[in-house]
């Protein structure tokens, strides 16, 4: 484990050197996602100028849901963005062979190979939203709440990573896994809003099948003191389960990997 931590910091330093070579470009990349997120937020803002409550949720409460999701999402962008491009950039080009002849775990190598600075936009906007919304809502950041927030965001991030890992494995057979990953990933758009807004079928999917609800809606309920039962505590278990499934599938895919050849 310590070896992997030190290796990761080495990869990260190299990546940052590359990124900082062109500082203006680094800045543009980092704020671009911020602009993208702002579009969705402005929509909520426009609507909430006209109505007092959306499905029983105030504007500030909606911002909290939105912010929690953005924070979780930032983790997958920052630390696991290569799961998107494993097929296109590595398997199709034969570059994946490089990971198989090195004395480190191929999945670790794949993830460490790219730190995506565009996740910073999500991190910044998520941080701003959660802090402003919680201040306006009077949420006290005592130790239990703070710990809950950290665990919830980490779990949310790992749920994103787990689902992306599960879907990216398809690249071992179809070369480019982006279409498969994107269909599942885009379902996180549902979780930008309170799940109570949807019918039971959608709620079930977002809780048990593609459980993005644990990245936003359920943690928000806990922080707001709303009672949704045991679900507010299930995020870490769901995240670990998804990661385990993802890793088993990854190993299965790895056994079926056939290089591009010469």
């Amino acid at each position: 484990m310590p070896r992997y931590v030190s290796l990761y910091s080495l990869f990260l330093r190299q990546r940052l050197k590359i990124l900082m070579e062109y500082r203006v470009n680094f800045f543009i990349g980092a704020v671009s996602t911020l602009i993208e997120q702002t579009a969705g937020l402005l929509t909520v803002w426009v609507v909430m100028q006209r109505i007092p409550l959306l499905n029983g949720w105030t504007y500030e409460e909606l911002l909290l849901v939105y912010g929690l999701l953005a924070l979780s999402k930032s983790l997958t962008y920052l630390f696991a963005d290569n799961l998107w491009t494993v097929g296109r950039e590595y398997i199709r080009t034969g570059g994946f062979d490089r990971f198989l002849v090195r004395p480190v775990d191929p999945l670790f190598h794949l993830l460490a190979d790219r730190f995506d600075h565009q996740g910073l936009g999500h991190l910044i906007i998520g941080g701003i939203l959660v802090s402003t919304a919680s201040a306006r809502l009077g949420i006290t950041w005592d130790l239990p709440h703070l710990l809950y927030l950290v665990v919830a965001v980490l779990s949310g991030g790992l749920i994103f990573i787990g689902l992306n890992l599960i879907t990216c494995v398809s690249a071992f057979w179809i070369m480019d896994s982006v279409p498969v990953t994107r269909v599942v990933f885009d379902m996180n758009e549902f979780a930008k809003y309170p799940l109570s807004m949807y019918n039971r079928g959608v709620q079930f999917v977002l809780t048990w099948l593609v459980p993005y609800g644990f990245a936003s809606f359920y943690p928000a309920n806990y922080l707001l003191g709303r009672d949704v039962g045991v679900l507010v505590w299930l995020g870490p278990a769901v995240a670990v389960t998804l990661l385990l499934i993802g890793y088993r599938l990854w190993l299965f895919g790895l056994r079926h990997y056939a290089s591009t050849g010469s």
Partner: protein, 270 residues
């Protein structure tokens, strides 16, 4: 004269005919788009139903009118998504392909416009299944053919205006390497400014006023406002004149900006 015209039509027609093949080469991408768009339609429908839970009319728009607008906006989104040039220019520069493109015996901008318009048509045809999904979600499109005719004329004029604007925006790729980030920023801004996520009629007057003069709304909100009854048909001639005037300014301006930007290009090779 007729021969030259025939030759030009054949050249650009040949380009346009490649667009469907390019689009449909990998069917999995088409399926992905359908799935992703269906998700977006479902979320949108739930969201706006929730917005109208306690009211029947907001800012003069009834629930059915707004729902029809936002679902149609998602279906006709290719009008605003098909003109983005930043990534395209950046890719051509990165690969050195820009040299080949500039050497072709075709006007580069005209060629790109033909390509983008052909892509737009293919994109619209591929949206037909989504149109059916949207009907199940409560969309009530108008049946009056005049409305559709006015919509199409306004949308294609708006598309041309946005193409010229995006052409200038795309020239940023000659100066920076972060084309993915710029494309994402443009995409995000377009979602809001074009009225794709929320009709401009629901926005505060000052904001709607600003967005109305930007070219993004011309390609989506303005045409859809005719189709959904937000704007009266009698406004159409005035809107078309304004769009033609914008085109008269933006077309030469975009060509000039490109001429300046292209001087930055240094293509390696040998």
């Amino acid at each position: 004269m007729a021969l030259a015209l025939g030759r030009t039509v054949r050249r650009y027609g040949g380009m346009a005919s490649m667009a469907p093949k390019f689009f449909l080469a990998y069917s999995i991408w088409v399926w992905m788009e359908w799935a992703v768009q269906t998700i977006a339609l479902i979320i949108t429908s739930f969201f706006w139903r929730a917005v109208y839970t306690d009211q029947t009319v907001i800012a003069g728009l009834a629930q059915s009118q707004t729902l029809t607008y936002v679902l149609l906006a998602l279906i006709f989104a290719p009008f605003v998504h098909s003109t983005g040039m930043i990534y395209n220019f950046g890719y051509l520069l990165k690969e050195g392909q820009i040299a080949v493109e500039l050497l072709r015996p075709l006007d580069f901008q005209a060629g790109q416009y033909v390509w983008r318009t052909a892509e737009l048509w293919v994109g619209l045809i591929l949206q037909v299944p989504l149109f059916i999904v949207a009907l199940f979600l409560g969309m009530q499109p108008p049946l009056d053919p005049r409305l559709w005719a006015v919509f199409l004329v306004t949308a294609f004029l708006g598309h041309a205006v946005l193409f010229c604007f995006d052409w200038m925006l795309g020239c940023l790729a000659f100066y920076v390497t972060e084309i993915w980030g710029l494309s994402v920023a443009r995409y995000g801004f377009t979602l809001f400014a074009s009225g794709l996520l929320v009709p401009l009629a629901l926005m505060p007057d000052w904001l709607a006023g600003i967005l109305n003069v930007l070219p993004f709304a011309q390609a989506l909100y303005v045409p859809l406002s005719f189709l959904t009854g937000i704007a009266p048909l009698s406004d159409a001639p005035r809107v078309w004149l304004a769009q033609l005037a914008a085109l008269a300014v933006l077309l030469p301006l975009s060509r000039w900006v490109f001429r300046v930007a292209v001087r930055k290009v240094t293509v390696q090779g040998g």
